[in-house]
C-alpha cells in the first residue's frame, strides 16, 4: 500500500503519500457502496472543488490572510460598506513586509472591483517567519484580482 510514494518524489505530498492512497481507496470503495447517482455527484463535485480551492491557496501558505464576509447585496452607499473597506485598508497597512506601493495598488484594484458588486475582500498579512519573494508578491496581487473578479 506504499505504492503512491514514488509518484510524489517532488512536491508536498511526498511527505504524506498515505493520505493520497487513502483518498484513492475511498474512491474505489465508493464504487462498491451501491449509493445513488446524486450522492456520487455530490462527493465527486466536493472533492474537485476542494482540490481547486486548496490549489489556488497553496502558493500563499506562508501569508496570513483575512477574509471579510458580508452580503453581496449590501448597497455601496451604506455605512457598513465603508466599514468593510476601511477594515481591509487597515489590515493591509499593518502588513510590515508588503510595500506600501503594492498595498496601494491592490487597494486600487479593490476599489475598482466595487463595480463588480463584490463585498468579499481578501487581504494578505505577512507571515512572521518567512519573507515572500518578489515573484510571490506579484502572485498575491494577481490572486487578489482573481478573487475579486470571479
Amino acid at each position: 500500500m506504499r505504492a503512491c510514494g514514488n509518484w510524489f518524489a517532488i512536491g508536498d505530498a511526498s511527505e504524506s503519500p498515505e493520505l493520497i492512497e487513502e483518498m484513492i481507496v475511498t474512491a474505489l470503495k465508493i464504487a462498491r457502496d451501491h449509493m445513488s447517482v446524486a450522492d456520487l455527484k455530490l462527493i465527486n463535485r466536493s472533492i474537485k472543488e476542494m482540490r481547486n480551492a486548496a490549489k489556488v491557496f497553496a502558493p500563499f501558505q506562508h501569508l496570513r490572510k483575512v477574509a471579510v464576509f458580508g452580503s453581496a447585496r449590501t448597497p455601496v452607499d451604506l455605512p457598513v460598506y465603508d466599514v468593510a473597506k476601511e477594515f481591509a485598508r487597515e489590515m493591509v497597512a499593518h502588513d510590515s513586509w508588503w510595500s506600501p506601493v503594492a498595498a496601494m495598488e491592490s487597494w486600487e484594484r479593490r476599489r475598482r472591483a466595487q463595480a463588480a458588486r463584490t463585498v468579499s475582500v481578501l487581504t494578505f498579512v505577512s507571515h512572521p517567519s518567512s519573507k515572500p519573494t518578489i515573484h510571490q508578491r506579484r502572485s498575491q496581487t494577481d490572486y487578489a484580482q482573481l478573487f475579486l473578479h470571479p
Binding site: 508536498d12 511527505e15 504524506s16 506562508h62 496570513r64 483575512v66 451604506l78 455605512p79 457598513v80 465603508d82 466599514v83 468593510a84 476601511e86 477594515f87 487597515e90 489590515m91 499593518h94 498579512v125 507571515h127 512572521p128 517567519s129 518567512s130
Partner: protein
C-alpha cells in the same frame, strides 16, 4: 472551531458606527443557546464583537502577537510561538489551564521531529501539551493567555 475540527482563528464581528446588528445576534445566542446549555460560556471566546475598525484590527493582530500556529502530533497539541515565554508564565499557564490537560504539563520546547515538513517555522519555540479533545473554547482562552503573557 467549537468541535476542534477547524483550526482556531480570530473571528471579528464588526458593527458599523452606532450599529447594533451583532448585539441583537448576541441576544439570540445568549437567550436561546447559552441559557439552555446548548453551548458553553467558553465558546463565546471564539469571536469578538467590535464597534470600531481599529478594535477589530487590533483583535486580529493581537491573536498573532505571540501565538503563531498550532497542530496536533498524535495526542500532543503543539503551539508554535513567535517568542519564548518566561518560566513564570509557563507556571501560570499550567495553573490556569490544568483542567484541559489529560496528562503531564504544558512544557516549553522546540519542534518535534514530525514537524520537519514545515521547515519555515522549524526554529520557532513551542508549547507542547496533551489535552482532552473537548472544550475547545478553552484552547482559544489558552491562546489569549499566551498572547497576554510577557516574553522571555
Amino acid at each position: 472551531m467549537q468541535t476542534g475540527k477547524a483550526r482556531i482563528i480570530p473571528v471579528v464581528l464588526l458593527n458599523r458606527p452606532r450599529g447594533n446588528y451583532w448585539e441583537l445576534w448576541m441576544e439570540f445566542i445568549t437567550d436561546r443557546l447559552l441559557k439552555r446549555g446548548l453551548i458553553s460560556e467558553e465558546d463565546l471566546s471564539f469571536f469578538k464583537i467590535t464597534r470600531t475598525v481599529r478594535e477589530g484590527v487590533a483583535e486580529i493582530l493581537h491573536f498573532y502577537k505571540i501565538y503563531h500556529s498550532a497542530r496536533w502530533v498524535g495526542e500532543r497539541f503543539v503551539i508554535r510561538m513567535n517568542d519564548r515565554l518566561p518560566k513564570n508564565a509557563i507556571v501560570d499557564l499550567n495553573k490556569q489551564f490544568a483542567d484541559i490537560l489529560r496528562k503531564g504539563e504544558i512544557v516549553q520546547a522546540t519542534a518535534l521531529p514530525q514537524e520537519k515538513n514545515e521547515p519555515a517555522i522549524w526554529d520557532l519555540p513551542r508549547l507542547i501539551l496533551t489535552p482532552f479533545r473537548n472544550n475547545f473554547g478553552r484552547f482559544r482562552q489558552l491562546i489569549d493567555a499566551i498572547n497576554s503573557s510577557s516574553t522571555a
